[in-house]
Subunit: 228 residues, 2 copies
């Protein structure tokens, strides 16, 4: 008799990871690079995407966005004006809604995402510095935005989030003259928890750093294509 | 034979509510008014408490703070310098930590909180606009802070949080001249989801509105005492 050993599932996140791999397979099949973009509420994820689209990223790449929100479609509406395919995913089914996207929520939205027509899919996660970092969704890269208005201590207070990201966009630098914010202290804290993170200083509003942010997006697609 | 009917628990939050009531009983026994203070990361909860303590609230009331954080004790250390009893509660036991306080976490910290010596306990929740609103911890009042840097749309994107609070402190108003922020649009959005919320315009950094914030804290204790 043939016998197979099955290991007991050790991790409550295993089911999520299984579905994340299925998403990953779908993305690979269609040649889509996926960025999971995370931040606290109001750090500027949507504004950074708007700035990148205004700067012409969507002319160089076929970009789509999957918008995660507890409720509403405010960000999706902002981006749809820029003629980018946007799919809204709301997590508000429960009492107060889910505070993050998980692989299964993303999977449920995939039939609505035109993967065959995309080079890059940006998944804009729910604004939250804790749980989104815990759930893979099948992305190539995790990236985050941290606004200078949030204070220098955030990497130490939310280390998993900062540690999980390849890129940390330090946004709203146009406000630096008006804040008691020690950028070097923030960067030292970030380097303590994630010395390998790429850092970009950006003002989505003022335009500083937007070109580098666009280059990072196009470069991410090129690196993923080269690795495939 | 005596038979008792027991209703099946209908709500996954019922266990939390049971423990919240036990916390409430302990607070009532000691005559402590409890404020559950919530916000997104970096909105200024700790700075507002610092401002209130510097303005002398702790001379009028015996105030203590229970600090909820995923990791670290940065905020607790800031407040302890102001000679206020502070108890640190870290939620980082799991993989990435819990994104909110629940009643049982607060209960586990109560032996360390000097309730008999307090009139007011401020529970500073984990920085997050979703889940903290879902879990009662035994508080008298829920209050929140929203910074003007977070954008006007937040009440519509996180309605449960804004709806659950009696007070919304609109913080960092010193930055208004440097932002594309429409305060009236924010207030209209807030009124759509919670027309009864008290609003305070404050700059913890510049001092505007701090006196009113202090009066709200002392008034909350007076109202709770009058209702008891």
């Amino acid at each position: 008799m043939h016998r197979t050993k099955v290991r007991v599932v050790e991790d409550a996140l295993d089911a999520n990871n299984t579905i994340a791999r299925a998403n990953r397979d779908d993305f690979d099949r269609e040649g889509v690079t996926v960025v999971n973009l995370m931040s606290a509420p109001g750090a500027g994820k949507t504004s950074l995407l708007e700035a990148a689209f205004r700067a012409g990223v969507a002319d160089e790449l076929r970009v789509g966005v999957l918008e995660g929100d507890v409720q509403g479609s405010f960000d999706a509406d902002r981006l749809a004006h820029l003629h980018v395919p946007v799919t809204q995913l709301n997590t508000g089914g429960g009492f107060g809604g889910e505070c993050h996207l998980d692989a299964n929520m993303v999977r449920s939205a995939l039939p609505e995402v035109p993967l065959a027509d995309l080079d890059l899919l940006v998944i804009e996660n729910v604004g939250n510095l804790v749980c989104p970092a815990e759930f893979r969704v099948g992305e190539d890269v995790k990236a985050m935005v941290c606004s200078v208005t949030e204070g220098e201590d955030k990497p130490l207070k939310y280390p998993l989030m900062f540690r999980s990201c390849e890129l940390v966009v330090i946004n709203k630098i146009d406000l630096l003259p008006h804040l008691d914010y020690d950028l070097e202290a923030f960067q030292a804290n970030l380097e303590r928890v994630n010395p390998d993170a790429r850092q970009l200083l950006v003002s989505a509003r003022g335009g500083e750093g937007v070109e580098e942010w666009c280059r990072w997006l196009t470069g991410t697609v090129e690196r993923a294509a080269a690795a495939a």
